[in-house]
């Protein structure tokens, strides 16, 4: 669970207009180049995060019985408290820093990409030119100096907030109550239980899965434990069968020869 004084970000989907100011601010502050993409018929761009795009707005769009829906969610590292990337990393290069922020030590990372495979949010990526991985830093360089993350400062609608975890959670709960009262009965807070509790919280109007957010996430520790358990049973069962067959066959052949 995040601690009360940890750094945190709140994204309020009910205020977001999908303007992508945050996406641009992230690129500017972190000196990240643009992406060469093609138009796929959506305003969503680029189609996924990458080593050069640490934050983007995800557009969930379509038409249901003549009603257009056009919903926006933030897509970036969630700064998990039980982070799959951290637990999967063999070297400890990606790790928890002060205030619960998860960042990569690029002088220690070996570029094995195990973290990339492990992250349930697809939020950490391999940079082929640098040979190491890149991701959102929660603007650690800014927040540790008392500034707000670049994305938060740029948001024109008040959909992004930052501060202590306790404050952000409080704000999320207040907003949720308002939304419920206004008749959004499916409104919810995302990130309270996922991956041990995330340092980025979302206020959503609809069920998380409608935005393609993973629900019922399993922590890396649990996955590793069940993996070893399954491997242990497999080794015992298959090993026993193998030994049995060799011995049986040997007896048969021995019998024939006798």
């Amino acid at each position: 669970m995040p601690k009360a004084n940890d750094y945190a970000i709140l994204f309020d989907a009910s205020h977001c207009t999908g303007c992508r100011a945050c996406q641009v601010a992230c690129k500017q502050w972190n000196d990240l180049p643009g992406e060469a993409t093609v138009n796929t018929g959506s305003y969503e761009n680029p189609p996924s995060l990458s080593a050069d795009t640490w934050l983007r707005m995800k557009y969930t769009e379509g038409v249901v019985s003549d009603e257009v829906f056009w919903d926006f969610t933030r897509d970036a590292c969630m700064h998990c408290s039980s982070a799959a990337c951290v637990e999967a990393c063999p070297t400890g290069a990606v790790n928890y820093r002060e205030g619960g922020v998860v960042t990569v030590d690029q002088d220690w990372c070996i570029g094995c990409r195990n973290c990339v495979q492990a992250c349930p949010y697809d939020a950490i990526h391999y940079d082929e030119h640098k040979g190491v991985v890149e991701k959102c830093t929660l603007c650690y360089d800014r927040v540790s100096n008392g500034l707000q993350p670049a994305c938060v400062t740029s948001c024109p609608t008040g959909a992004l907030h930052s501060g202590s975890y306790a404050d952000m959670k409080q704000l999320a709960e207040t907003r949720l109550a308002q939304l419920k009262e206004a008749g959004y009965k499916d409104a919810n807070i995302y990130g309270l239980a996922e991956m041990g509790g995330t340092h980025v919280l979302y206020v959503l109007l609809k069920h998380p899965s409608t935005y393609g957010l993973p629900v019922g996430t399993v922590t890396e520790k649990k996955k590793v434990a069940s993996g070893w358990l399954s491997a242990g049973i497999a080794a015992a069962v298959l090993g026993y069968a193998g030994v049995h067959w060799v011995a049986e066959r040997r007896e048969q052949v021995g019998g024939e020869r006798r």
Binding site: A88, S230, A231
Partner: protein
């Protein structure tokens, strides 16, 4: 096709499983020469495999951070540790004339871990095709035994039990793969389809037909043992190829 893990990883999985499987099976035989050649095969597989892993890193010169990081919860860390230790154990076995019992046991367990951890590694990811069923370690272990037995046959070992092992484990393997595809289908439709009918169908059906069905048929007819062993080994490669690549289908890179 893009993917985070590519051909080096496939080759490593394959070599380590073939050599490791041959070693583990040879230990069960009553023939000391077979045991020694098993240890040799495993050593070769593990050394070349480890080199491939290092070359595949974004920062090969930092490979030692892998162990220096000491992080046993990471399957990658534990796998690297057992890989290094098993290499050491096998090396000792190759230079010693007499094998102390403990050395045989410890090395056998380490090699078993090397063969098995690859399945755990894939299970502990966010990729549904690898993680939505617990069968990945089962498939890799069964296939290691099939390929290990086939490798020993190919090198001229006449132990009758080998054919039996290769035959039975090939049957188990194909059942496990089928079960895995059905099990993961709800969570990984796109990936299962890529394997069955999509961009990886050649590897999948190559594995099923050339790597399993044909050798099984030849084995039942008691024909061309060497050729059928060769096909089994190729099948072991194709199996790992489609598993590694299918797991990463749908991961958008542009």
């Amino acid at each position: 096709m893009t993917g985070e893990w590519g051909i080096y990883i496939v080759l490593y999985f394959w070599l380590a499983a073939m050599g490791g499987g041959a070693f583990l099976i040879a230990l069960g035989l009553r023939d000391d020469r077979a045991k020694r050649s098993g240890a040799f095969l495993a050593f070769i597989g593990i050394v070349i495999g480890a080199l491939l892993l290092v070359v595949d890193l974004g920062q090969p010169a930092r490979f030692w951070h892998l162990l220096a990081g000491f992080h046993p919860i990471s399957v990658m860390w534990l796998g690297s540790a057992v890989l290094a230790l098993s290499g050491l154990g096998l090396f000792l076995m190759l230079i010693l004339r007499e094998w102390p019992d403990w050395l045989v046991w410890v090395t056998a367990i380490l090699v078993l871990l090397v063969v098995g951890y690859t399945g755990v590694l894939l299970m502990a990811t966010a990729r549904p095709f690898w993680s939505a069923s617990p069968l990945m370690p089962w498939i890799f272990l069964a296939s290691a035994y099939t390929s290990g037995a086939a490798l020993l046959v190919l090198l001229g070992n006449r132990e009758p039990g080998l054919h039996r092992i290769a035959f039975n484990f090939a049957l188990i393997e194909i059942v496990l793969v089928a079960a895995h595809l059905i099990w993961t289908y709800p969570a990984a439709q796109q990936q299962v389809q890529a394997a069955l009918t999509g961009e990886l169908a050649w590897a999948f059906w190559g594995f099923v037909l050339l790597g399993v069905a044909l050798p099984l048929y030849m084995e039942a007819q008691r024909k061309a043992a060497a050729l059928s062993a060769l096909l089994v080994l190729a099948g072991g490669f194709l199996l790992r190829y489609f598993i590694v690549y299918a797991g990463q289908v749908g991961v958008l890179r542009f």
